[in-house]
Structure formats: C-alpha cells, structure tokens
C-alpha cells in the first residue's frame, strides 16, 4: 500500500487575451486510488492584475493519496474562465497535465485550448462573449473523442508541485 503526497500551488496563468481570470481545478484518479486528506477540487479567486499580464492565484494544493495499483495515476485538470467588468463569465480554456511520478520539485506548464465554433459564432463571440463549451468536462482528461473537436490554442497555466512518494520502492517501483 503506497502513498503519494502532492503539495504545491497553482501559481497563475498568462498568455490569455484578457487578464481577469479565475480557474476551476480538480485532480482525477483511477479506481485504485483513495484520497486520504485534502481537497481534490476547487475554484480560485478572480485575479485582475494591475501590472503585467500574468494573473496570479497562488492556490494551494495539498493532497494525500493512497493506492494499491499504478493505473489511474492522478491527473490535474484546469478550466480557465474570464470574468469581465459586467460580471459575465466566459470560458477561456481547458487544460490538463499528469501529476509527475518522480519525487521532487516540479514546475509544470499546463497549456490550454478552447473549442471553436463556426465563423459566425466566432464573430458573435467577439462582441457578445459566450462561445461553445464542452458538454461534459470528462473530455479534458480522456483522449477518446478528442478528434471530433476543433479548437484554438489559448494561454498557459503555471503549476508548481512537490511530490513525495512513500513505500513505492517496496513494490519494486522505480520512478
């Protein structure tokens, strides 16, 4: 029975068209994993940077998992949203990365993409906002049906994680 500690933070995001951003994040695992302590999902505050264009959230992530198998290694998924001055929320990107499996300190860049509609929808989106969203967020972290999507590249979410593995070497795992 092995344990995994994920201790880190979602630092912020940059490279998006507008800067007033917030992020809905979550960690998704397979069936053999059990969460012992920590919050597995959350939503950050809305950050509106005064200088520079990177929005900083510094959202702490502190999770303790225990597992009896290697399948379903945890994955971090993020949805970046934009809140404008009128209070409307608009989707700015879906992103995803595997939690690293080697112990130590990792600085990850999680790139994001957003689904595109037809050109009429894109024109409307420029004026009114809105835009297509995924019907179910599961599509972010599975690859099966991705080929149907037409997307556009958006910004980058920076994540800093410290990984501690425990008892993995007892079962002959090198990572």
């Amino acid at each position: 029975m092995a344990e995994l500690h994920i201790i880190g933070q979602i630092i912020g995001a940059s490279g998006f068209p507008q800067s007033s951003l917030f992020c809905k994040w979550g960690v998704h695992t397979g069936g053999a994993w059990r969460l012992l302590s920590g919050l597995r999902e959350g939503q950050t505050q809305v950050d509106f940077p005064q200088t520079g264009e990177m929005a900083y959230w510094s959202q702490p992530v502190d999770l303790h998992y225990t597992t009896k198998g290697l399948q379903g290694w945890p994955k971090l998924h993020v949805q970046v949203w934009h809140q404008d001055s009128f209070g409307r929320c608009e989707l700015y990107g879906y992103g995803y990365c595997h939690i690293p499996s080697s112990p130590g300190h990792h600085r990850l860049q999680c790139v994001t993409w957003r689904p595109l509609g037809s050109w009429q929808e894109q024109l409307a989106q420029m004026f009114v906002g809105g835009g297509p969203q995924l019907r179910s967020p599961d599509l972010i972290y599975s690859g099966a049906d991705r080929y149907r999507l037409h997307t556009v590249a958006m910004g980058v979410v920076e994540v800093e994680l410290g990984i501690i593995l425990r008892h993995f070497d007892r079962y002959g795992i090198e990572s």
Binding site: W73, Y96, H98, S101, S102, H150, G172
Partner: protein, 562 residues
C-alpha cells in the same frame, strides 16, 4: 584572571509542549574582586599540582571566602515574584500603593516580614504583571541615537501587549461567511495589523550595588530575560551556561565592578515511567493509524508477473510549433519491439483534436494538451540473447485539415521512450517528404494532398530493414516544425524489490514503533527468510574469521526457530 568567561550573550530558543509553570532556573551571581580572583587562580594552580606532592597552602583559604553579600545562588520558578530591597521599602508603607497589584504586594511583604523574611537578597524578579515589563522595556532604544522616538510599529506593538494583559480574551475564529470586512474598525486594525500571539515575559534582576547599600534603583540590572509564547516557544537571554564559562556582568556607575553570572536549568525532568507511558501511547496511536490506512485500501499491491518489467508511461502531447499551415492535429502510435507485450484490450494509438494556431513570440503554436497512458511488459524470452533490449518507440505524424477540407501532411517524427524513469520533457523535430518537380507542391498548395510515407517506421529504421547499412539516398525531405511531449515513466519489477529495499523497509518509523505486526503478508516473511539464509551462506563461505563464525552461529539459531 578573567579566564573562562563566556562572551556569547545571545538568546536561545527552546520548544516545549509542557506547561511553562514547571520551568525553574538556578541563577548564581558572584562578585569578582581582585583579591578573590587572585586567590582563586592560585588555588586552582595548587589543586592541579597536588599530585606532585606540593604542600597545601592553608593560609589562603580564609581570604577566599567572600562575604555573604558578594555572592548568591537561588532557584527561581516561572513568574515567581521575588522582591528587591527597593520594592520592599517602597511597598511597606500603605500610602504608596495605588493599584490593586501594589496593594497585593503590600500584604505579601508584610506577611514576609512577619515570617522568615525574603529568601533572596540581591536577586529579584519582575514578572509579567509589573510595570517594568511594559514601560521600560518598550522604551529601550536598540540603536545609539541622540534622541529616541519610537516608530509607528513599535507604538502599535506595545499597545497590543498592554491590551492583551488587561483583557486576556482570544479572538474567535473568523466566521466563514464574511471573508472581507469592508470597513474595518479601529479595534480590528489594531489587533490584526501586528503580531497577535500572547507572550509572557519575566525578568530576573540583580541588585548589584556595593555591599551594605542595597535598595538603590540605579544599581538594578537585568540578569536574565525569559519569554514564553502561547505556542510553547521559550526564549531565554542569555542562554544557560551549560559548558561555557560564566557570563560577565559589568555595573555602571562610579565604581565599575565585575560580577560572574551562571544560569542552570533546574526544571524537573520527566520520569522514566512517564516517558515509557508516553512512548507506548504514541506507538499505539501509530499502529492504529496504520491499521486504518490498511483498511482503506488493503495491504496488497498489484504486481507484475515474475520475471517481467512493467513500464507505465503517463504522458501528454503538449504542443506543436513552427508548421506551415493551420488547424493541426497529430496521429500517433506506440511501436513495441520484440519481447515487449501490451495489455490485450488497450489501444496503443490516438488522434488529437484539431487545433488552430496562435502566435506566440515568433512562432505559431498549437496547444493540444492531449493525455495518453500506455502500459507494456517486457519479458526476456531467450536468455542467451546478448543484445540490449530495445525500448518502445512512439511514431507520430502531424497533419493539417483546413476549412476547405484540404488535407496535408505536415511532418513525421519519432520519440524513443527513455529508459530512465521519471519526468521527461522532450521536443522532437519533424520533416516531410518532397517529390521532384513543382507539380506536387502546387497540388499541395491549391487542393491539398501530399506524398505520405507508406511505412511510418521509415522515420527511424524501417521494420522491413534487415541489412547492415541503411541508405536513404535519393530521398528528399523538407524540415518542418517541432512537437513537444512530456512523459512520466514508471518502471516496476519484482527484481527491484530485493536487497536495499528490504533493509530500508525496516527503518521506517512506523515499523520501529509498531514492531512486527501480524499484518505483514506471507510474501514478505518469505523474503526476509530468504535474505537471512543468504547471509548465512555468505558467512559460511567466509568462515575462518572469528566474527564470521560468530555470525554463523547466531543465524543458524534463528533459522531453527523460524
């Protein structure tokens, strides 16, 4: 003569979870006079030379004994109020007592005078309740300056300590409903802008006046300051003298005198049986916690079959950049060489979504963020094959499909899965094949459709290749962009479990405290038995040295009982 002084007057920080009221300090001060120092030095010399049979000098002894006023040794408890001569004189008369605290001192002093009198002479204390702690300490200027005005922050902090004493109420935790206070009151600003922890301070003072003239306020000097936090942090300045020499205290005034100060920790330690009980309690706690963890998931772990290496690749296709056209997607598959097996129903290929690029710096990038996860097993079929095992290769091709349904190949590339486990971020360059003449390029531009590779593995070494030298002569390509992958590789094998891990496993804290519980599986006991037997065999081979023979005997006896 002034040998053995300790000049390190810095404060020391201790942490303890026990109650601070159990703290006791033995403090000793001793005046250093010239004759006393000289005779001490001489006597020290005499004592060291005594083995050589020198006659003891008795005549010096009478001068050594300093007067009762020149030294004092006392055990002081936490917040124990000891009065100085000055305070005794002051609070004796009822008229000079205003506050309730002073009145209380008055009654205590009268009681003392009726009784045996104070047990201290020169050493006295200022506790947390005395005014000294608040006023004098706050007005001490740490910098040498002509005029001293406390800064804004210093004023705020002293006010806080005051108020903390007057009403020792702890602020309740902030209600979760209201996260922001839009209009903070003055009270709120005062209490939340500076440090909020309650600190209790005690000063041990010494009245270092000339003998017979005690009770002058100018001769008072701080010998030791003790600060105790509500979190169990105790700061003592200066520190206990454990093995350093005594501290040197100099009086100011017309006659500069030197005193020797020694501080020793006299608090009662924890008894053996208490310690044993605490230890047992922690051990029970850890064992129970471990049982709880085990019950959640179960003590087993899925292992690969014996003799095979399991490789688990969790990765993602991150991005692609530097390509000619827009709306890119990537089609990839994992190629397993001989001796590698995959799971029966697992797909080893995938297609990403189509992504429109955007400009980042100088290039057009497309972000895919496409996850994939492969699991493969390596089993060595024939042992006599000497070659290095070939690792799986990920082949991919980048394609573009635009609005008018024009389909073009943008590049071919490959990525060898790294043999070292861990996190790898790799960028692979790609190329696309070209045909002679301009017709193919024109067709590619106007209607789409470009030459493709029939065998994808041609990118690296074609699967149909059996010769010695690979020649790609006559094959024309054009360099296109690059694709970034990030991979996490995990390897698992039963062979990694022996040796080090068995030894290391025994050193985990929970095992230390919990001992060998019945929850260890049979497999682990067999492994331990195996390693013990191996040690015994090694000892038998190395017999001839006494220590090895000894080892052989002990392991044999353990084997018989196992």
């Amino acid at each position: 003569m002034a040998d053995g002084w300790s000049t390190d007057n810095g404060e020391a920080v201790y942490r303890s979870r026990d109650a601070t009221k159990n703290l006791k300090i033995r403090i000793k001060i001793q005046r250093v006079t010239s004759t006393a120092a000289l005779s001490q030095h001489l006597q020290h010399q005499v004592l060291t030379q005594q083995e050589r049979g020198v006659i003891e000098l008795d005549t010096f002894n009478s001068q050594l004994r300093s007067g009762p006023d020149d030294e004092e040794e006392l055990v002081v408890g936490w917040q124990e109020k000891l009065f100085s001569q000055y305070e005794e004189d002051l609070y004796q008369s009822e008229t000079s007592c205003q506050t309730p605290l002073e009145k209380q001192y008055h009654t205590e002093i009268l009681a003392l005078q009726r009784g045996k009198g104070r047990r201290n002479r020169r050493i006295f204390t200022y506790t947390d309740f005395d005014r000294y702690t608040n006023w004098e300490e706050a007005s001490q200027n740490p910098i040498i300056q002509a005029k001293f005005a406390p800064t804004f922050l210093a004023e705020r902090m002293t006010n806080i300590r005051h108020r903390k004493q007057e009403r020792r109420t702890v602020d309740a935790s902030v209600a979760k409903a209201r996260v922001i206070t839009w209009e903070p009151s003055e009270e709120f600003v005062k209490s939340s802008h500076v440090i909020n922890s309650t600190v209790q301070i005690m000063h041990i003072m010494g009245d270092l006046g000339p003998p017979g003239r005690l009770g002058m306020k100018e001769n008072e000097q701080v010998l030791c300051t003790i600060r105790a936090d509500s979190n169990g942090v105790i700061t003592i300045k200066p520190d206990f003298n454990n093995s350093k020499g005594p501290y040197r205290v100099e009086t100011e005034g017309e006659r500069k005198e030197i005193w020797r100060l020694t501080l020793v920790n006299a608090s009662a330690g924890i008894s053996e049986e208490e310690k044993e009980r605490e230890h047992r309690m922690y051990r029970d706690l850890y064992v129970r916690h471990r049982d709880y963890l085990n019950s959640l998931v179960g003590p087993d772990f899925e292992m690969p079959p014996i003799g095979s290496l399991r490789l688990l690749i969790n990765g993602e296709i991150v991005s692609a950049k530097g390509y000619e056209y827009d709306n890119l997607y990537i089609h990839f598959f994992l190629d397993l060489p001989n001796n590698w097996f995959g799971l029966p129903f697992e797909a080893l290929s995938g297609v990403t979504q189509t992504c429109q690029t955007r400009t980042l710096g100088k290039d057009n990038v497309a972000f895919f963020s496409y996850p994939f996860s492969f699991e493969t097993f390596f089993r060595k079929e024939n042992e006599n094959e000497d070659s290095q095992p070939k690792w799986p290769v990920l082949y991919f091709k980048v394609l573009s499909l635009d609005y008018w349904q024009r389909y073009r190949t943008e590049g071919y590339g490959y990525l060898v899965i790294p043999s070292a486990p861990g996190y790898h971020s790799m960028t692979c360059q790609t190329w696309r094949p070209l045909q002679n003449g301009t017709v193919a390029e024109l067709r590619r531009f106007f209607i789409g459709g470009s030459p493709e590779l029939e065998d994808n593995s041609y990118v690296r070494v074609p699967s149909t290749f059996k010769g010695e030298r690979l020649s790609r002569f006559g094959f024309r390509t054009e360099t296109t962009g690059s694709v970034t992958f990030s991979l996490n590789c995990i390897q698992q094998a039963r062979a990694f479990m022996d040796g080090n891990t068995l030894r290391r496993r025994r050193q985990t804290m929970v095992d230390h405290l919990g001992g060998f519980s019945q929850h260890k599986s049979v497999q682990q006991i067999m492994d331990l038995f195996e390693s013990a037997r191996r040690r015994m065999h090694a000892a038998r081979e190395g017999a001839g040295f006494p220590e090895h023979a000894g080892m052989a005997i002990t392991t044999e006896s353990s084997e018989s009982t196992a």
